[in-house]
């Protein structure tokens, strides 16, 4: 559900109000319902100080909700992230060669990791609220767009961010300050031993982080048809997402930086080349990029992420990197237009073992996650190709098609099985070493614009489309299980959409 309102108070002031509410409900039966979605409210005041300086004041509220109703085990599960964002941005056109953007921004976060409630009177479950977490992020930035010469333009800026993980009801104190410990005999990581807990007022701080985030990019025009560009960006990220690629359900756990989790720092470098061909009828863009990420967290083997009140006991700090080449060819003019995009890239991470000093003066090195070796992140796609084409037959009819091909998402397949108590249990090897089958899909559509539109105030449009024309069953996940009838092991593919024909009627007035 979407609403938008705007109101011009006078020539120099206008206000905008928008709201969004969306819920996805995934229900298997009355006893199992999964609901998730977002609610966003946005108020913006646009004010013109002069024709060279104007400002935007925004107030944004957002609430992400994730809930499970599990009647068969007798409980409901509710979790979410709420944030209140206030920002004030100014744009200053000093002259046609120099523009400054600056502003401040403050976000207050409230995390509800989960509340468990009995779903009926007979339930043996007691209500429990996992410890709510709070944080505040303040940022100030200045950004300059500067045309130095006719051929050289520079864009540079600096952002300062301050993140305070605010106090909460209960936080653990660990033996040796180690929330995760390593057992050198069994070669496994285990949850550390909590020896005490303490509470801090919500106005107090558990941990504070300050980061400067510089960025610079330059574009140089070589001649009328070609240019080169280069950029460097640093970003600090204070919220961390841990996802489980082997799980068929969207189980994503968000955790804020704090006493045990450092902010994630990204350094990104890119160099690109742009060329226009045949007076702009065609254009070619290429870019190479390298990203280096510090403090990328991942969970240890056997981690329990659900309803975990002390996530620091199952995560370790590592690093990530990504690099690749992007290529884009466009046809910009004529009745036939379109583009071809190709990205070749690699995205991987590693979590090496820490060195632990023992009391007898000796030390040992832990194995790390995945034996400390690099492994694919859940987002790694070696090849990513997309093609889009549009053809205007006449004033009435327009045809579109697009095609997507992507290397399958990294996942885990069992490397073996063993028998225990009459059950066969699969077990897994190095992380994210296998892949789902490649993803590919083609969509087509035809748009009919009736001729009578010209003479009236309102406009109508019919769109006839087919999503996934050749009805490919792209795998969303592959799970491994035992067939209940035959007793044989099998691989089960879950695919979300097959072919979807649709008719859309657009009405504008």
């Amino acid at each position: 559900m979407n609403t938008k309102l705007n109101y011009n108070i006078n020539d120099n002031n206008s206000i905008f109000l928008s709201g969004y509410f969306g819920r996805d409900v995934f229900s298997v039966s009355d006893s199992f319902v999964n609901t998730y979605g977002n609610a966003v409210g946005n108020f913006r005041w646009n004010h013109l100080f002069s024709d060279k300086l104007f400002s935007n004041l925004s107030l944004i509220y957002s609430n992400y909700y994730y809930g499970l109703k599990l009647d068969f085990v007798g409980f409901d599960w509710n979790s979410g992230i709420e944030n209140f964002n206030i920002k004030y941005d100014l744009k200053h056109y000093v002259n046609d060669k120099f523009q400054i953007n600056y502003g401040i921004n403050n976000i207050y976060y409230r995390f509800n990791p989960g509340k468990i409630e009995p779903s009926n009177a007979d339930s043996g479950i007691i209500e429990e609220q996992l410890t709510q977490k709070y944080a505040n992020e303040f940022a100030a930035y200045i950004d300059v767009e500067h045309d130095i010469t006719k051929n050289l333009s520079l864009n540079y800026g600096l952002r300062f961010s301050n993140f305070i993980r605010l106090g909460q009801d209960e936080i653990n104190v660990y033996f040796n300050d180690s929330p995760v410990i390593f057992d050198p005999v069994l070669n496994v990581y285990q949850e550390g031993i909590a020896i005490d807990t303490y509470s801090v007022e919500k106005s107090g701080s558990l941990a504070t982080f300050n980061n400067f985030e510089p960025r610079i990019s330059l574009a140089y025009t070589l001649n009328d048809n070609s240019s080169i560009k280069a950029s460097y960006t640093r970003l600090a990220q204070y919220l961390h997402l841990i996802s489980n690629t082997s799980s068929p359900t969207p189980l994503d756990v968000w955790t804020p930086s704090g006493p045990f989790v450092k902010p994630q720092l990204l350094d990104q470098y890119a160099v690109g080349y742009f060329k226009s061909i045949s007076d702009g009828e065609y254009s070619v863009e290429t870019e190479v990029f390298y990203k280096d990420i510090q403090n990328r967290i991942d969970y240890i083997d056997g981690a329990n992420l659900i309803a975990n009140d002390a996530i620091e006991q199952v995560i370790l700090n590592g690093e990530a990197r990504a690099y690749g080449l992007e290529f884009l060819l466009r046809k910009n003019e004529g009745r036939f237009q379109g583009w071809l995009a190709y990205t070749l890239s690699k995205s991987e991470q590693r979590t090496p073992g820490r060195t632990v000093d023992l009391s007898d003066g000796t030390s040992f090195t832990e194995t790390g996650i995945n034996s400390g070796a690099w492994y694919n992140t859940p987002y790694d796609k070696t090849h990513d190709v997309s093609v889009y084409a549009s053809y205007d037959l006449n004033e009435k009819w327009n045809f579109n098609t697009n095609f997507v091909f992507q290397t399958g998402q990294p996942t885990n397949y069992p490397i073996g099985q063993f028998s225990f108590q009459g059950l066969t249990i699969p077990y897994y090897g190095p992380r994210n070493e296998e892949r789902l089958p490649s993803y590919n899909r083609m969509d087509v559509s035809a748009t009919l614009t009736p001729k009578k539109n010209k003479n009236r105030k309102w406009q109508t449009e019919w769109v006839f489309s087919i999503y996934n024309v050749y009805n490919r069953r792209n795998a969303a996940s592959i799970s491994f299980s035992r067939n209940e009838d035959t007793g044989a092991n099998e691989a089960v593919r879950t695919s979300i959409f097959g072919i979807v024909p649709a008719v859309t009627y657009n009405f504008k007035f």
Partner: protein
């Protein structure tokens, strides 16, 4: 002010669907699996107990799990310093048994010792009693397909200790619960 109205009509062909596909899975080197979970019913009048351990070798996910052949297997009670060797029920079964007593199994620390393909393995444990079941009833609620059988089980969880409960409903149906959210 401009307004947009979209009317979308989708033919109801799309579904989330599951199908069985052929996948090539990697094969790890074979690992020895020891199933030495023994259940002792202390309410029975007999003081004798048959200790049984099943051993097998892991396999590729789509192949058959074969029994393992051990060079040696025994259980030692550290408290009584008593040691009992186990013997294979018949050759190639992977099932090793020995007659002993409930007292041997339930008092003192036990060490299971195994020798397989030249490697020696040891595990240590003590008997852990489970709380008694207070109520066991068949209910009439169902879950997904409507063909499930509801079983209502009541028991008192011990408040000051972290426990995991393993329910064995037979037919390879198991349920594990932890007591985090129990009163």
């Amino acid at each position: 002010m401009k307004k947009l109205i979209y009317i979308l009509c989708m033919l109801p062909i799309f579904t989330a669907c599951e199908d069985v596909i052929e996948v090539e899975v990697p094969t790890d080197k074979a690992r020895l699996t020891v199933d030495a979970l023994m259940r002792i019913d202390t309410t029975q009048p007999s003081t004798n107990y048959y200790a049984e351990v099943k051993v097998s070798v892991s396999s590729n996910f789509f192949e058959t799990i074969e029994p393992a052949i051990l060079e040696q297997i025994s259980i030692t009670n550290l408290a009584s310093q008593e040691n009992i060797p186990l013997f294979e029920t018949f050759i190639g079964s992977g099932v090793y048994q020995s007659e002993t007593t409930v007292d041997f199994m339930t008092s003192g620390e036990l060490i299971l010792f195994i020798q397989h393909e030249g490697s020696r393995y040891a595990a240590r444990t003590t008997y852990v009693p489970a709380v008694p079941i207070k109520k066991l009833e068949q209910g009439d609620a169902t879950l997904f397909s409507g063909e499930e059988t509801e079983i209502i089980v009541a028991f008192d969880d011990q408040p000051n200790q972290t426990d995991f409960y393993l329910f064995d409903f037979d037919f390879n149906e198991y349920l594990v619960t932890e007591d985090t959210f129990y009163p």
